[in-house]
Amino acid sequence: MNQAAAQTKPVSPTGGPGAAADETSDDAATSVVSMYVKQQKIYARAVSGWFAGWRWAMVWATQLVFYGLPWLQWNDRQAVLFDLGARRFYIFGMVLYPQDFIYLTALLVISAYALFLFTAVAGRLWCGFACPQTVYTEIFMWVERKIQGDRMARMKRDAGPWNLDRSWRAAAKQAVWIAIALWTGFTFVGYFTPIKVLAQLVSQLALGPWETFWVLFYSFATYGNAGFMREQVCKYMCPYARFQSAMFDKDTLIVSYDVERGEPRGSRSRKVDHKALGKGDCIDCGLCVQVCPTGIDIRKGLQYECIGCTACIDVCDGVMDKMKYPRGLVRFDTQNGMAQHLTRGQRLKRIFRPRVLIYTSILLVLVGALATSIALRSPFRVDVVRDRASLARIVDDGQIENVYRLQIMNATEMPQRYQVAIKGLPGIVLDGADTIEVMPAHARWISVAARVPPQTGTAARPGAHPIEFEIQRLSREPDEPVVRTVEKSTFVVPR
């Protein structure tokens, strides 16, 4: 694995704490270093280009959904609302119960496989373009640039004294950051408490303790992660960052520097023919390092810090254009593509390799299964619970009765009527189950007794006999189909 190699393989001794000690020094003269390094602040330079455009498109797409969704109305309620208190989860037309938790599991499994698939094909696409960490960092860095200027201006100001100019800019940046973070926290909680109610509570300063905590906590996390932690999150905290390398192979598209074309690097005049001087295409301007949000040099090869944001591709393409060299000194390419000089077509063909095909087929099966399951989902759910203490009783004229509690869960937003029938034993009838009305998105418990005539009791062996409850939802309109569901249970004949 290349990432692993990058960690164990010593790099050129141009930097690092050990570089100062020269070879002749004995043990007594070797320096002592701190095991905990102070993080060097990264001043990422602004970048524009084709990939930067895509990244901004993803910022807009993800954030319009995130900030906008809670404000959408549907059926006179919030379109997407996770009501933890009432344990009902509304997603547009769907009303989910805690019993539907399997859908969340399926969604997470699908997300994981989608991540595997994207990673196998094109590396850390998720990290570079869609991950909230990247997206919020992008937004926060934009604010930083607008207020404090680009890389050079920021570095210069940070090196200088705390004068008025530096102070007001820092304060303004913090204020905007905090505002964005608070709005993000507010939006997050708006998925759990109706956002209009939440807005009202905030305006009246009447927020409950849990809402207050989560708004502030989520805001703090956004502010801290996007404002300060940034690449530290990717490098030291994110589990995906580390296990994604397991999905890489030599045909995975990664951000790569064309060593063969670029080296030996060196500055030169635009007018000279650098090939004649024995130089490669890399003019060693260092822009690829300056734009990197994780502070690495892509020319050292694939490194675990690289989140695949492609800022270096954009900036290098710009330089190549200025130099009138062909683009793509730093580009999305595969390791095999680099080494074997594969054409675009050959590289594309290699996408259809077993690893990718397996991920794709598993993903398709999962998505298909989830879609089918949701499409075929019954608009109501029934639990049948046998009475716990008394198994059976004998009533008038030797008839045998068993008692059940039925919970009918209405997963629609209209009041519904249900009828319960029973079958499974000769002459079995239900008592106490007339038409049952259940309020919209409510669950209701009812007690019913199933009864068999004495002759059934004598004919059947003592013990538990399988029976079935058939519950049908009565149609509200003449053309509405009747929905049925069947629940299994047992009927106990006493000794």
Binding site: V32, V37, A389
Partner: protein
């Protein structure tokens, strides 16, 4: 901390905890600096001929997380119990928290139940909140024996049929739930007479409710019923003051038919309903009694 049989253990625990915390900090400081062994940014160790370990230092903020945990531990131990017998500045205990929460719950509950105070069974039966509370109380406390549909089973009375052993008024139901009941049917075989007499009385009892019986035997058993009449009344209609069941209806709490009645006369029966005054407070019992009352009013069985 009463588990400690002498204060030595308490001191031991406290000392170990503090030494552990201090040791963590010392370790952090000692391990924070290291002599460089190689000049190529590796640790200088070589394994398997060419495998070297890069000096890949931990970020400093991560180290601060360790410090924060130590600080957190110190603050926690100052506020809460943990250092041996030291109860902490806040004087917190799980028992204390339980008591506070219970008290708060009681206060909240009292507010809800205050609305039901002094209301009649009819009024409460119309109150859906009261009935909802009653249903849950019934499900948690009564359904185990009487069934979740309150129709009981053998030995456990049906509460919906309007046939009450002790009476079905709100006051009687409240008393039944609060104090419990003990119903005693003594063995009456000796008083009735021979086994044949017992059988005859049983048939007479069956005839009272119009069940299948041997008419001749019933006729013979009728004079012997006087010993039963002491409790069940001369007409067999029972006596609610004694909890003696009505024998003229078709409701058989302990089994129907000749054999069951013969066995009851021969061996008797003691049937107990436990008292709930320990588990439920008076306000809860009031609502629960009203719920049980409402069951006997609306049931389809009562309508029959």
């Amino acid at each position: 901390m009463s588990d400690f049989f002498n204060s030595g253990w308490s001191i031991f625990v406290a000392a170990t905890t503090i030494i552990g915390l201090v040791a963590c900090l010392i370790l952090l400081i000692v391990a924070s600096r290291r002599r460089v062994m190689a000049d190529d940014n590796t640790t200088g160790h070589v394994w398997d001929e060419d495998l070297r370990e890069m000096n890949n230092p931990l970020p400093r903020w991560w180290m601060y997380l360790f410090v924060i945990t130590v600080v957190f531990a110190a603050i926690y131990l100052a506020l809460y119990p943990g250092l041996g017998k030291f109860p902490g500045v806040l004087d917190w205990s799980s028992a204390g928290q339980y008591k506070t929460e219970q008290q708060r719950a009681q206060e909240n509950m009292a507010q809800i139940f205050a609305k039901f105070k002094g209301k009649s069974a009819e009024e409460l039966a119309k109150d859906s909140v009261a009935m909802g509370i009653g249903e849950r109380l019934f499900g948690n406390n009564c359904a185990q024996c009487h069934g979740s549909d309150a129709r009981g089973s053998k030995g456990f009375p049906n509460l919906t049929d309007g046939d009450w052993l002790y009476g079905g008024s709100l006051e009687t139901l409240t008393e039944t739930i609060t104090k419990g009941r003990m119903g005693v049917m003594p063995p009456m075989a000796a008083a009735v007479g021979t086994a044949e007499d017992v059988k005859n009385v049983a048939n007479y009892v069956l005839s009272l409710s119009g069940g299948a019986h041997n008419a001749a035997a019933a006729q013979l058993g009728k004079p012997k019923f006087v010993v039963c009449a002491a409790c069940h009344g001369p007409e067999g209609k029972g006596n609610q003051a004694l909890g003696a069941p009505n024998l003229t209806d078709k409701i058989w709490l302990h089994g129907w038919g000749e054999a069951a009645i013969v066995s009851m006369i021969n061996t008797g029966k003691t049937n107990v309903m436990p008292a709930f005054s320990e588990r439920l407070n008076a306000e809860q019992i009031h609502v629960l009694a009203a719920y049980v009352w409402s069951l006997s009013q609306t049931s389809s069985m009562a309508a029959k």
